[in-house]
Symmetry: C2
Subunit: 320 residues, 2 copies
């Protein structure tokens, strides 16, 4: 980037910090944030790289929003409220006219939506793929944060929203599967602009025994809960394939079950719930499905509607 | 990076979080940090890119330490104490054997030195230049942070340590200038592993009227103070070239004056001091030179030892 371009970025980014005194108008070396007694700060940081985490053809505004939202989803998984964020941009000189403006406009739109501000960051030049890193800050009442540790045998395995949409959306965008136009648009939207389940995460404080967001895929992420809550294979889980929540758009497509079990990037909350709290599920701000339960040992088993064990054969889940 | 390599990174990074309960052993989506009443949080974020901010030949441990230290220097400039940091690594598959181990060993060494821990982060793959982003967190008593705003006409312009070493060190490493072996080693060390002036920054709380760290170069950074403290060219500064602090290694080299005035990456603190505090300079934990003063308007002027104006001609500062 030429110097003039960096000044342009400066002009683009300063409005994102407006209204937030601690950002100091982005003029200083660091941002200042008041501490709130009785709370803990929650911090998450993600990075994305062009052609790895987003496609050159993706609208720049949605690339920005997905980066911000996947970080907000990390806050949601801890039961935290968002406070602000910092960014680092790695930019090439050959960035198409308007690309960065659209990227920043996506951030501006989501800032307003989630009630947060840019606190600071850095812009650097690269000769390689574009990259972006984002650090998000949130707050949670002291001691109330949800973590991956705490699941117990007998706890219900629950998931918000629907699963597999994002993986199917990517498959549609890449032309690997075909879908009717309205389904394709819905699924691509779920891939590009996931919804961080912030209100749900906050509602789960004091209820869920363990929680995370589905980023690697349901079975992988459930494995993270089992590994962090138990140790040495002490915990296992049963998952009922017939109870996995699928969107109408996903349900009719080939590979929907596989996408729901192992597709990533859904950013739904996967949590475990002591059975005594089952009645509370109806009060939650988003639909939640009970898809299985935690048990002692035995890894994770997936059962079909008749209770028969499904196994992964190549890329499909089938009966033995 | 293959999955096995990411697991290796995981093994390398988890020890950096050991001993810090809020890092949750890096198992969770986010880190938790207790808030301390009566303090403000200070946050800075920088990114570095291979072949732009560091050289392929640089020892990986010092690349890591420079990244951490330039962020710690941002805390120093605000008068803050360091608390912890998050990182994002953008790595290629072809990383030489041992490179990452050495990078992480550099972080481990500096963590111990500065009393901080890794709180979280992200590791992603790239096909382009390596990149690293680091977010550092610090604390400052509420209302006590130093900023770039606050310099007034008559304030002394002060700088810690010595100037120009880093730019000369880079010139030596790149073979652009020659220096005796011991000078070359000293200057290269100043370029590769700068010293964040944390104790000085904390000592300047309540004393300095404005402060930042010299990263762009003395004159550019002084310009940042003038622009943030004044508005519309309201403030200017006089700088006495003969009072610029030069290391013995730098003083004998060609271009030392230019490096001191415009070389970046020194990470010394540049601050303004109301003249009534002049006596306090002797109490500070590092040597500080008074190099000029703030005045009303007139931009920044550089004077030689006889009081004659120096001007930039090509790449040299000379008399008219």
């Amino acid at each position: 980037m030429a110097l003039g371009e960096f000044q342009m970025i400066d002009r683009l980014l300063k409005p994102l910090a407006a209204g937030c005194p601690g950002a100091l108008g982005l003029t200083d070396d660091a941002a200042l944030l008041a501490q709130q007694p009785g709370t803990q700060l929650v911090l998450a940081k993600d990075a994305i790289v062009e052609a790895v985490h987003f496609r050159k053809e993706d609208p720049p505004g949605t690339v920005a929003q997905k980066l911000l939202r996947q970080n907000l989803s990390d806050l949601a998984a801890m039961g935290a409220e968002p406070v602000g964020y910092l960014t680092a941009f790695g930019l090439r000189r050959d960035l198409p006219e308007g690309w960065l403006e659209a990227f920043v406009a996506g951030l501006a739109e989501d800032q307003a939506r989630f009630g947060i501000h840019l606190l600071g960051g850095d812009t650097v030049s690269t000769r390689g793929p574009l990259f972006f890193s984002l650090t998000v800050l949130g707050r949670v009442p002291a001691g109330a944060a949800l973590t991956r540790a705490g699941a117990k045998p007998g706890d219900l395995v629950c998931v918000s929203g629907t699963l597999g949409d994002s993986a199917l959306g990517l498959a549609v965008l890449e032309g690997r599967i075909a879908a009717p136009a309205d389904s394709a648009a819905y699924l691509a939207g779920r891939y590009r602009v996931p919804e961080p389940r912030l209100a749900l995460g906050q509602a789960l404080r004091g209820l869920a025994s363990a929680c995370l967001d589905v980023s690697d895929g349901l079975l992988g992420d459930l494995g993270h809960i089992l590994a962090t809550s138990g140790s040495g294979g002490e915990l296992g889980a049963l998952v009922r394939a017939g109870d996995l929540p699928l969107s109408p758009a996903a349900a009719t497509l080939p590979g929907a079950l596989e996408a729901a079990l192992t597709g990533g990037d859904d950013y739904e909350l996967l949590f475990t719930l002591p059975p005594r709290h089952r009645d509370r599920l109806a009060e939650l701000p988003v639909p939640v499905a009970v898809i299985g339960e935690i048990r002692s040992g035995g890894g994770t088993e997936v059962l079909d509607s008749a209770g028969a064990l499904l196994t992964l054969s190549g890329r499909s889940w089938t009966h033995f």
